[in-house]
């Protein structure tokens, strides 16, 4: 019934020649990247290689200096684009969760749907309860974020992003701030999302997780895409010397 074969694959996101500087510091020096629908891309690279900046640029949280970002055929980096309308289609989850501390879990999750999508409170809460239950957070709906563990907070942050029913989800080192024993619960949530077909770009330091979940792994180095390909190739048989060096350092740090 559904179309199969190459014709069914559509581009969720296309990035061309993306440049971004902070003052005199050039963080992104011409990024090209195409993400297909339902594809999971893992961004790896050293701190400062531009992973977070790339995600923030895609979400239009940072204005870009040059290049194009095209979301499902629409150039979102063009002048005159309604940024607020674009952002609701792109979910982002931050390393430090960034939950709203003055609101209950439920209100954190329903804020976007109610205020942006103008969904009724009852409908938004019903949707939120369903999502919270799906990720094992049903009993936390009335808690404030500070009373939750880091892993729970990060799962709430993911649910908050999902409540907007985004076309694509950006995950910015979402397990880096977590205690080691809490990492798995968050990674499992992401695995489930990948299985459900969510298009995702995941900046991560978890190499084994990247190998496990990614359709392609993208190694960023000094603001450029140094190497991109299937995880088996990039992580096991890297072609680029810089990729090899990076993986060697990760290996020495015991993270592979």
């Amino acid at each position: 019934m559904t179309a199969t074969g190459p014709a069914a694959v559509r581009e969720a996101l296309e990035i061309e020649g993306l440049h971004k500087s902070f003052g005199s510091l050039e963080v992104l020096r011409g990024i090209d990247l195409v993400v297909d629908e339902h594809e999971v891309i893992c961004l790896i690279g050293a701190s400062g290689s531009g992973k977070s900046t790339l995600l923030r640029c895609i979400n239009l949280l940072e204005p870009i200096d040059a290049g194009r970002i095209v979301l499902a055929g629409q150039e979102i980096s063009a002048d005159g684009v309604d940024i607020d309308r674009i952002r609701r289609r792109i979910g982002i989850v931050f390393q430090a969760y960034n939950l709203f501390p003055h609101m209950s879990v439920l209100d954190n999750v329903t804020l976007g749907p109610r205020r942006v999508l103008k969904v009724s409170r009852a409908q938004a809460e019903a949707d939120a309860d369903e999502l919270l239950a799906r990720f094992g957070l049903a009993d936390k709906r009335n808690e404030v974020p500070d009373r939750l563990s880091g892993g729970q907070q990060q799962r709430v942050a993911i649910v908050r992003a999902l409540a907007m029913k985004p076309d694509i989800l950006l995950l910015d080192e979402v397990t880096s701030a977590l205690d080691p024993e809490l990492v798995a619960e968050v990674l499992n949530v992401i695995r489930e999302l990948a299985a459900s077909g969510m298009t995702m770009i995941i900046a991560t330091h978890e190499m084994s997780f990247a190998r496990d979940i990614a359709d392609r792994v993208c190694f960023l180095d000094a603001g450029t895409v140094c190497e991109i390909g299937p995880p088996g190739q990039v992580l096991s048989e890297p072609r680029e010397p810089r990729t090899r060096q990076f993986l060697q350092r990760v290996l020495e740090a015991g993270r592979l």
């Binding site: 979400n59 949280l61 607020d84 309308r85 952002r87 609701r88 792109i90 979910g91 982002i92 931050f94 430090a96 960034n98 939950l99 709203f100 501390p101 003055h102 804020l111 976007g112 205020r115 942006v116 999508l117 500070d146 908050r160 992003a161 907007m164």
Partner: protein, 279 residues
């Protein structure tokens, strides 16, 4: 062994706290007693007693003063209700980003600069005498009206700075999280940034509120008959300063509980924040 430890420690601690209390008490008695001795033995003590601490005059003037204090209460309650939203609007205006909003930012900045620079009594004089003096049709010349306007303008400048500090204390990641959901700049401010900012600045806002309460006596100079003006009238009639002391007492009774409440809120806020950061 271990079960013996705690009682000894507790006994020692209680002995220490007893000693501390005793020392504090003794030093207070010495200082207060010394001061009292100096005052009572001052050459003018007898005159001060009749002119400032006159019991019969105190009790005779107190009911009238308390009645007049109703005007002060009216002044600071109405003014505070106007100050809180106006200060917030000014603070938000000062925080609007981008070149488009430059005139708005400039206006708000100039407003705050001017009203913080001017002594309050000057603002009260200028507005209270100057504007009615223009005799423009439809502009009220009621001193009470201009008293409210003057106090509101003065304190809105201070309060806007308090709000601004609160807004700036909210980490930009909160705004980023809100905007990433598609909330507009205004929605993010309204639902995410301001609720947190305002909660943080409740103690300094209360502090300014106490300042406002005291400054209501300044509007007596443009002819509002409130507690201070009433005390002046009584003083002039009786050639006795005791009514002023009664006024002082009224303000102390009003402000000290508010000051304690502020301290308590600050302490609670600090406790909550340290509890949060310990996690």
């Amino acid at each position: 062994m271990t079960s013996v430890g705690p009682p000894i420690v507790r006994r020692r601690r209680s002995r220490i706290s007893w000693r501390a209390t005793a020392i504090a008490l003794a030093s207070t008695v010495v200082v207060a007693g010394g001061l009292a001795w100096v005052v009572v033995n001052a050459p003018g003590w007898a005159e001060v007693q009749t002119d400032f601490l006159n019991g019969p005059i105190f009790w005779a003037s107190l009911p009238g003063l308390i009645a007049a204090f109703g005007k002060n209460v009216e002044l600071f309650l109405i003014a505070e209700l106007l100050i809180l939203p106006l200060g917030l609007v000014i603070a938000v205006m000062r925080g609007l980003p981008g070149p488009v909003f430059f005139p708005v930012r400039l206006l708000a900045t100039v407003y705050v600069d001017i009203f913080r620079a001017l002594p309050g009594i000057l603002v009260i004089f200028i507005l209270g005498f100057g504007i009615p003096g223009l005799a423009i049709d439809g502009i009220p010349n009621d001193p009470f009206f201009w008293a409210i306007v003057a106090l509101t303008f003065i304190y809105a400048a201070y309060v806007s700075e308090v709000y601004r500090a609160g807004i700036e204390s909210i980490h930009p990641s909160q705004d980023a999280a809100a905007r990433s959901l598609g909330l507009t700049r205004f929605q993010s401010l309204r639902h995410v940034v301001l609720p947190q900012a305002v909660r943080r600045v409740v103690p300094p806002l209360l502090n300014d509120f106490i300042g406002l309460q005291k400054d209501t006596v300044l509007v007596s100079f443009i002819g509002v008959v409130e507690i201070f003006r009433t005390a002046q009238i009584k003083e002039a009639a009786l050639f006795n300063f005791t009514p002023y002391l009664a006024v002082a007492l009224v303000f102390i009774v009003l402000t000290i509980p508010l000051a304690r409440l502020t301290d308590w809120l600050v302490a609670r806020d600090k406790r909550q924040r340290t509890a949060g950061s310990a996690r």
